[in-house]
């Protein structure tokens, strides 16, 4: 037996497959096909949680996604703890471990339930009122305590070991909800030949058909018809049926996000399967068949365990073979509750009384209930209940003609079923920016016009009943019309009693009227003040009742009060689903150069430069970073070093007007640059500020090899394309990114020529034949190469460009030669130091988007007499010409051993008073092995006029005096360039 309340037959669970699970440490048995909620109910357990604010004992209210009370934590092992799951949606499997939340020490006895006695002190908005004095206590005492008390489940601490994937999908028809209306829509779309995605949040598609007990469809019972319809859909290759898949967000242009729970229901998941899969669906048409949610009734003490929605109780019986109790009182404001009473009575449950607040109910189901002898009392309501951990009696009063309630009869019961009618699930329609229309007959909002190709069908459109859902072509028998419905608070005569509206956030009818009395009028303000509808269930069961209460109390009609926004997600979605595979190694592409493997083998330490991994330094055994960099620097200056510069951006600019194009773009002159020569180019934005630089070589009259900074490669190419396509379509030039075509090996140092000579064919490396800033094409190590004679160190230097696939082989060949000269491989840190010794800037380090060429002392690069270039006009703005601009200088700290902090501020006085503006800041700072002391570059106001001055860098340990110098520390005459 899988529970004392399990029926012997019926339902869709498999009694032959018992499953054991634990709830709060206690072992239970359920059946395959059970949810945690149905399995607990089968074992007679209603108490499933404690409420958020008052810690009141709460039971299972519903059977679906709308469940506000039965929130549980599921523990699947280390790192695999999921809090706040609705027990009504958790499928059990063998070994499932679940626990209740928001209770200490136990669900049955919770210390924090003292809050319930303090309820009069903590009404809506209490934290704005009760804890005002003394003011200083708020931050230190009140808020920390309230924060500690707030929240439901606990978040897992470890990294999530599960895997998540994502999938894009396209279809002509996306059907959300596989109830009768959704299945009918999917069949129609499939018949048209559409690609159809039919998703449903439940374990099985079928929706209300899974619990349909009376109606016959095309002569079949509902479950048989469903099985046939699903088999027919499943046989269609263009139809995808996704169970356990929640459409949680509806975005522009029919883009709908679905969260599929792939393995949580399995005791032993296939490790190849992701835990969840995020679907991003683009659909030509979206059909919303999301059904409706039964409304609770708002009456005093309506929140005790054992009080359930009537149709949910019927669902537990019909679908899961579970009787929710032994003796039920039914509070029926809608005919469907009579249907539930009939079904439960037929299953052997005693119906103590059907209480109907309506004066009359003459629908088919009420008539059948009365004919079956079920006791019915019209014009009556429940004015109170008793039972701490389970309801055990209900107090029934009569509603008089004046609306007052008189007389109280005590009815004993262990279950109280209620129905206020149905609220169409318009969440996705509303997310799609569809309008809503109020239907007074349903006391509900239904979908109105929508700006997207989206339509709502069945109950979510306010079209109730199987015939409406399935359409006229399908024959439905015994599907009587059900009427009624109630929104708001039922009358009672107990002013101090609490009638709950939002079960999850513990908002009562009194809280709402209090908010109105305190002056809140807009429903959005009332919502935020009371927190009604702001829990994880977003008010699925409470919003309409809250609206009706606010409307009644403020003398307005419901549509006048308006509706709060429906937001994504419909139900909570894991962060894992959003992250997908973008975590760990796949968080972002890791780009490596062709020479990376060699550097790894040499024990290089790498740094991240954007997405690139670059070798930072090559430590030898026992060396720290500083020692390695000093050794590398000294070796390059004394002999030579080789450096992997492959990440430099490269753009091939080809066409008749290539020189003219560069002339217009860069500050420099290009037209007179001869083929075979290079020039250092500076690129400005339209504001005149330096945004990129690099050496550009002219290979032929119509072909340039442009290099950019590593980080600027994509940006510069985009900027170039933008100008070509939008500003200068007259120019005949084409751009091709060649960044990744070439591996670039810099060989720098006095021995550079000797290292390359034995490897180079077809290029005369001699000083006269191959001058500084020239480019030649030939072969290096047998590989076709573009050889640049350039220097970013101040030493004799070459940059060997070879096809990337040959990069490693050529590097190793050069390394072989380099070792004969006792040269080193060096990394980006040494590159930085060597260039700083020469005062060469790095864009992004010496520049910050506010620096013009003259600030850097690079005014010489601007082509004389050029009519125009990007940024030229901005360079003549008064601010740019005015004195006081920050200019690039060198700084030498008074203590040569002190390496300044990069970013340190520079001021004129040793101890400036607070508020003194800085003259500038340190942009680069290193230990210089060449000079045997520290050096720094800085941008300082009027810096060039301050050479020789002493300024100060205020630091926590006291101001550091620094002498201002020119930015070139080493070999200012450039004697080393020729080796």
């Amino acid at each position: 037996m899988t529970g004392a309340f399990r029926t012997t037959t019926g339902g869709r669970i498999d009694r032959a497959r018992p499953l054991s699970f634990r709830f709060d440490g206690r072992a239970f048995t359920g059946c395959a096909g059970d949810t945690l909620a149905s399995a607990l109910l089968a074992n007679g357990v209603h108490l499933a949680g404690r409420s958020f604010k008052y810690h009141r004992p709460r039971g299972i209210l519903a059977a679906g996604a709308e469940e506000p009370n039965a929130l549980v934590g599921i523990d699947r092992g280390p790192g695999r703890y999921a809090p706040n799951l609705r027990a009504t949606q958790v499928e059990i499997h063998d070994g499932l471990v679940a626990e209740s939340q928001n209770r200490t020490p136990s669900l049955r006895f919770d210390i924090a339930a003292l809050a319930d006695f303090a309820a009069p002190l903590i009404p809506a908005g209490f934290y704005y009122k009760t804890f005002m004095q003394p003011a200083g206590w708020w931050a230190k005492l009140y808020e920390p305590r309230i924060r500690a008390a707030a929240g439901l489940g606990r978040a897992p601490r470890g990294a999530d070991p599960d895997r998540y994937t994502q999938r894009y999908a396209h279809c002509e028809t996306l059907v959300v909800g596989a109830g009768p209306a959704g299945i009918a829509a999917a069949r129609a779309a499939a018949a048209r030949g559409d690609r159809v995605i039919l998703c449903d949040e439940q374990a099985e598609p079928g929706g209300s058909l899974l619990a349909e007990t009376r109606a016959r469809i095309d002569g079949l019972c509902a479950q048989d018809w469903l099985a046939a319809a699903l088999a027919e859909l499943a046989a269609e290759p263009r139809v995808t049926i996704l169970p356990r898949t929640t459409a949680f967000g509806y975005f522009a242009q029919n883009f709908v996000a679905l969260a599929e729970r792939v393995t949580d229901h399995l005791a032993v998941p296939d490790p190849n399967l992701p835990r969840e899969r995020l679907w991003q669906v683009r659909a030509r048409e979206v059909v919303l068949a999301t059904g409706a949610i039964e409304r609770p009734l708002v009456f005093p003490e309506n929140d005790r365990p054992g009080i359930m929605l009537a149709d949910s109780a019927r669902t537990y019986l019909a679908r899961y073979g579970v009787k929710p109790g032994c003796r039920a009182l039914v509070l029926a404001a809608h005919d469907d509750a009579y249907g539930a009473a009939l079904d439960l009575a037929a299953a052997g449950m005693e119906i103590a009384l059907i209480v109907d607040p309506r004066p009359a109910a003459d629908g088919e189901l009420p008539r059948r209930a009365m004919a079956a002898g079920l006791p019915v009392r019209m014009s009556a309501t429940v004015v109170g209940t008793r039972g701490r951990l389970r309801v055990h009696e209900a107090h029934v009063g009569t509603i008089g003609a004046d609306g007052g309630v008189r007389g109280v009869d005590v009815v004993s019961c262990d279950t109280l079923l209620m129905s206020g009618g149905w609220t169409p699930s318009v969440h996705l329609h509303s997310q799609a920016r569809g309008k809503l229309a109020f239907r007074a007959d349903l006391q509900a909002f239904v979908p109105g016009a929508t700006p997207q190709a989206c339509r709502s069908v069945g109950a979510c459109a306010g079209e109730f009943g199987l015939q409406a859902a399935l359409g006229p072509a399908t024959r439905v028998e015994d599907d009587p019309v059900r009427e009624g419905g109630f929104a708001g608070a039922l009358p009672h005569d107990r002013p101090r009693a609490r009638a709950f509206v939002d079960f999850q956030n513990d908002v009562t009818a009194k809280d709402l009227t209090l908010a109105l009395r305190e002056g809140f009028r807009s429903i959005e303000h009332v919502k935020r003040y009371t927190t009604n509808g702001m829990a994880t269930d977003q008010g699925k069961t409470s919003n309409i009742n809250a609206l009706a209460i606010v409307a009644a109390a403020s003398g307005r009609a419901i549509p006048e009060v308006g509706l709060t926004s429906f937001r994504q997600p419909y139900t909570p979605v894991t962060f894992g689903a959003f992250a997908g595979t973008s975590r760990g190694e796949l968080f972002d592409p890791v780009r490596t150069t062709p020479i990376h493997g060699w550097a790894v083998a040499q024990g290089a330490i790498f740094e991240d430069v954007g997405q690139w991994k670059r070798a930072h330094h090559f430590p030898r055994p026992g060396e720290d970073m500083h020692a390695a960099v000093r050794r590398e620097c000294a070796a390059v200056r004394a002999r030579a070093g080789i450096f992997d510069a492959s990440t430099l951006g490269k753009i091939e600019v080809v066409g008749r007007d290539a020189a003219e194009f560069l002339e217009r773009l860069y500050v420099n002159s290009w037209k007179k640059l001869e083929p075979g020569r290079c020039r250092y180019g500076i690129l400005l934005n339209e504001a005149g500020f330096v945004i990129d630089d690099g050496v550009i070589g002219r290979l032929a009259p119509d072909r340039f090899h442009v290099t950019t900074t590593t980080g600027g490669a994509a940006r510069v190419l985009s900027m170039m394309e933008d100008y070509v396509q939008t500003e200068w379509p007259d120019l005949q030039i084409w751009l091709t990114s060649t960044t990744e075509q070439w591996a670039v090996i810099a060989v720098q140092g006095p021995k550079a020529r000797e290292i390359l000579a034995p490897l180079t064919e077809g290029i005369d490396l001699s000083r006269d034949a191959f001058a500084h800033m020239a480019v030649r094409e030939g072969r290096v190590a047998g590989v076709p190469a573009r050889l640049f004679r350039v220097s970013f160190t101040g030493e004799l230097g070459f940059e060997v460009n070879v096809p990337a696939g040959q990069g490693r082989a050529v590097w190793e060949a050069i390394w072989e030669q380099a070792r004969r000269h006792d040269a080193v491989a060096y990394g980006t840190e040494t590159m930085h130091v060597l260039r700083a010794e020469k005062g060469y800037i790095i864009v992004g380090q010496e520049t910050d988007g506010t620096v013009v060429p003259d600030d850097l002392g690079l005014g010489w690069a601007i082509g004389k007499g050029k009519r125009d270039f990007v940024g030229k006009r901005s360079l003549s703005r008064p601010d740019i010409a005015a004195p006081g601009r920050k200019q690039l200088v060198g700084l030498l700290s008074a203590d040569p051993g002190h390496v300044l902090d990069e970013g340190a501020q520079i001021v004129a006085m040793r101890d400036p008073p607070p508020g003194t503006p800085a003259l500038g800041h340190v942009t680069s700072s290193y230990w210089s092995a060449t000079l045997g002391r520290s050096i720094a570059l800085a941008l300082v106001a009027d810096g060039r006029a301050r050479h020789g001055q002493t300024l100060f860098a205020p630091m926590p340990g006291g101001a550091v005096p620094v002498a201002v110098t020119g930015p070139v520390f080493h070999d200012p005459e450039g004697r080393s360039l020729d080796g």
Binding site: Q280, L586, V590, T738
Partner: protein
């Protein structure tokens, strides 16, 4: 010639999916107008298609339309010099640009009945044969990497990936392919 995906054993789930690195290849980006493209096609040995997002190919060569004046040309490895010479000679009097990018990319194929589904893990395009038929090609994104995607056979896609993104693309596909290991 070292390829960025050298040494990556194919991912093979029989009858469902195969992801395999392709060997090195001669590649060019050709830029020019319709007349230049027509003549370049004659010299290259494969027509440069004028229909957007379409490729023309025979066993050895292919030309992929990537933009109104841009084609990616694929030719057997080692033919770089000859191809460049032939095109330069044929177009001496027509404006155009030819840039050799053989080593800029790595290439791989994703094939089998699950190929579309695997690519859909990171590519937002509609890859149904009705929307993305054989012969169609386009630049797109796969997860966080730019790709050129070409359905070169009815059930096989060729991906051209920037060299330094190849490892990421491969690892992404390997991770996404895991769920297809189980039938």
């Amino acid at each position: 010639m070292a390829d960025a995906l050298e040494g990556r054993a194919p991912i093979v789930w029989p009858d469902r999916l195969r992801v395999a690195a392709l060997p090195p290849q001669a590649r060019f980006v050709f830029r020019g107008d319709a007349e230049a493209a027509a003549r370049a096609g004659d010299a290259f040995g494969a027509t440069l298609p004028m229909t957007p997002c379409r490729a023309a190919a025979d066993d050895a060569r292919a030309a992929l339309w990537l933009g109104p004046d841009e084609w990616l040309l694929l030719a057997p490895p080692g033919t770089e010099d000859g191809t460049a010479r032939d095109i330069a000679a044929a177009l001496a009097d027509l404006p155009h640009a030819l840039a050799c990018v053989s080593d800029r990319h790595a290439a791989l194929t994703v094939s089998g009945p699950r190929a579309e589904t695997l690519l859909a893990a990171g590519c937002a395009l509609d890859l149904d044969p009705r929307a993305f038929p054989q012969g169609m090609c386009t630049r797109s994104l796969l997860a966080k990497a730019e790709i050129v995607l070409w359905r070169h056979q009815p059930a096989s896609f060729r991906l051209e990936v920037r060299r330094s993104f190849a490892a990421y693309v491969w690892d992404f596909l390997a991770e996404a392919a895991r769920e297809h290991a189980s039938a």
